[in-house]
């Protein structure tokens, strides 16, 4: 099994036992007519497609299933953005540059948080950085759900000299009338939005807040690997 196949196995191992992961992977490789010893990225989509039925059987929880498939889709596009992807079936939409999670219900907050952590782990971030990213995503997703009702969280990797993760939280909610006041700590909302946004700012390396009363809020954060 080469490095690329190893990456896929590592993702499966997050959700399934070692023997199950290995047997799913080898049988999918057989069906996809690819060899795990010399797997290349262009072959990943067909392999992932063959993994689908097995995952559907072994991963009973819809959330885990969707997360696992999102991560698998990401492996395929790494360094090869031109590969045509199968349109994703799951709620979290995989784009060439990352994952989009619609926030519509409270459950989506947990989902966004889990995906943020999985992606940070996937990128090789330390446990502490993974936790910080997941916590920041959770705060942003909760703010969307609590104040705007619906919105979207997009998580993508940053390539280049400084590897990292970028999270963009966007909603068309009521906006924040005095962001400076909220970030200063003088304001405390009943639900703790002030604490959430201030905490998020402290956890990340870059923090941008763009808000327009009546139109919505966009928060963009970046966290680097080191």
């Amino acid at each position: 099994m080469n490095e690329i196949a190893g990456e896929i196995l590592a993702i499966l191992r997050r959700y399934l036992s070692e023997p199950t992961s290995r047997s799913l992977l080898t049988s999918a490789a057989r069906r996809a007519n690819v060899r795990l010893e010399v797997l290349t990225r262009p072959e990943i989509p067909q392999l992932v497609q063959q993994l689908g039925p097995g995952l559907n059987i072994f991963l009973q929880e819809p959330e885990k299933l969707a997360n696992c498939k999102s991560l698998l889709a990401l492996v395929a596009v790494e360094n090869a953005p031109s590969i045509p992807m199968e349109p994703p079936q799951q709620q979290a939409e995989s784009r060439p540059d990352g994952i989009s999670v619609p926030i519509r219900a409270e459950h989506d907050v947990v989902r966004a948080r889990t995906l943020g952590k999985d992606m940070a782990k996937q990128l090789g971030f330390s446990e502490v950085v993974q936790t910080k990213v997941a916590t920041a995503v959770s705060e942003l997703a909760r703010n969307i759900f609590q104040y705007a009702g619906t919105g979207e969280i997009r998580i993508r990797r940053i390539e280049g000299k400084r590897r990292g993760i970028e999270v963009v939280a966007r909603d068309q909610g009521p906006g924040i009338s005095d962001p400076a006041l909220i970030l200063s700590g003088a304001y405390r909302s009943k639900w703790g939005m002030g604490a959430g946004l201030r905490g998020t700012k402290r956890l990340v390396d870059e923090f941008e807040l763009d808000t327009h009363p009546g139109l919505g809020t966009t928060v963009r954060i970046r966290k680097y690997a080191e």
Partner: protein
């Protein structure tokens, strides 16, 4: 896709007069709110001498959930049930500190063993609590 899911419930275990809540799942706000109610109901029965909240299975604690856990502990103490929160993972603890969010007014212990031992050393009732009054300043800075 419509999914009908019953709200997940975190079990409260009774062990030699103590209540043990071990959280081993990703916490949603609803699950935490439900837990608060369940703990309050368990405390109300009056036979518990202490409560341990084990967070070793929790990999992310954001501000709302942290606050809910802290409220839960303070609430139990107000009902006369000493509470110890234990098992915070190092990465989670570091994240909370960085966010400026600690657990004021809440006793903590490294693990379940020590939490149970700590409860045994606490007077079950009668003595004034040395932590009383510390819970006012949640956000710390301001």
């Amino acid at each position: 896709m419509v999914m009908m899911m019953e709200t997940q419930r975190i079990p409260i275990v009774r062990l030699s007069g103590k209540l043990i809540v071990s959280i081993q799942t990703a916490l949603s706000d609803t699950v935490v709110d439900r837990l608060q109610q369940d703990v309050a109901a368990a405390c109300e029965k009056g036979d518990a001498r202490g409560l341990v909240v084990d967070l070793s299975g929790v990999d992310v604690l954001d501000s709302y959930i942290t606050r809910s856990i802290r409220d839960l502990a303070v609430m139990a103490r107000l009902m006369g049930v000493e509470t110890v929160v234990c098992g915070l993972r190092p990465a989670v603890a570091m994240t909370l500190v960085e966010m400026g969010m600690e657990l004021p007014g809440v006793r903590t212990a490294l693990n379940l063993d020590r939490a149970l031992a700590l409860l045994d050393t606490l007077q079950p009732e009668g003595l004034p609590h040395d932590l009383a009054g510390e819970g006012d300043e949640w956000e710390g800075e301001a």
